[in-house]
Amino acid sequence: MSKSLSNNIRRLRFEAGEMTQQMLADKIGVTRQTVFAIEKDKYSPSLEVAFKISNVFEIPLEEVFTYD
């Protein structure tokens, strides 16, 4: 069975004071459309962007992204 990457970014944004996609995009240096694509599993971010996202929420990478 093939594995795929998924994430909890949408939930984490709401838990972080209802952060908008644009706010997260500005913090990590991508466009709002890219944040949307990541949340919808339509784009797998680079390692750098993935680490930036986990740094924004101050949690380990494995709690933001899962590969199963």
């Binding site: 240096g29 991508v30 466009t31 459309q33 890219t34 949307f36 694509a37 339509k42 784009y43 962007v49």
Partner: protein
Amino acid sequence: MGLSNKEKSLIISLIVTLLIFGWYFFGVFSNVTATSSEQLGFNDVIRVIFLIAVLEGIIAWFFQKKGEADLVDERDKLIDTKSYRNSYWTLCIGVWFILMQLLFEASGPWSNAYHTLVFTSPTYIAHLLLLFFVLSEVIHFSTQLYHYRRGI
């Protein structure tokens, strides 16, 4: 999520390219028995390219005016790379197709039979080259649209 400004700009560019060059090539290839003086020539190509350039400029200005940030991030670059790869292969296939035509034309045993099948005047070869260039642009726009909508 609705269409982003980038996607709207791509759709309009694609439609403009298809309409203008579709009309142009319809005029060229629907009249393949035209004499050299009746064929669409250099001035017509220049007019069409100028028209496309002006329209693309207006489209770019209009969507930039709408105020979307000019940021080009890693996803945009990846989609660009994939779309340029597809359009490169389209252009490659076209150039090889035309090269083969010219080689068949130049070779003795084949050229007589070949003359009855295709048209190899310099004007039509130029138009074929232009056609494959336009096709590669269409593939470029279409690939970008596909990846922006479906993901990458």
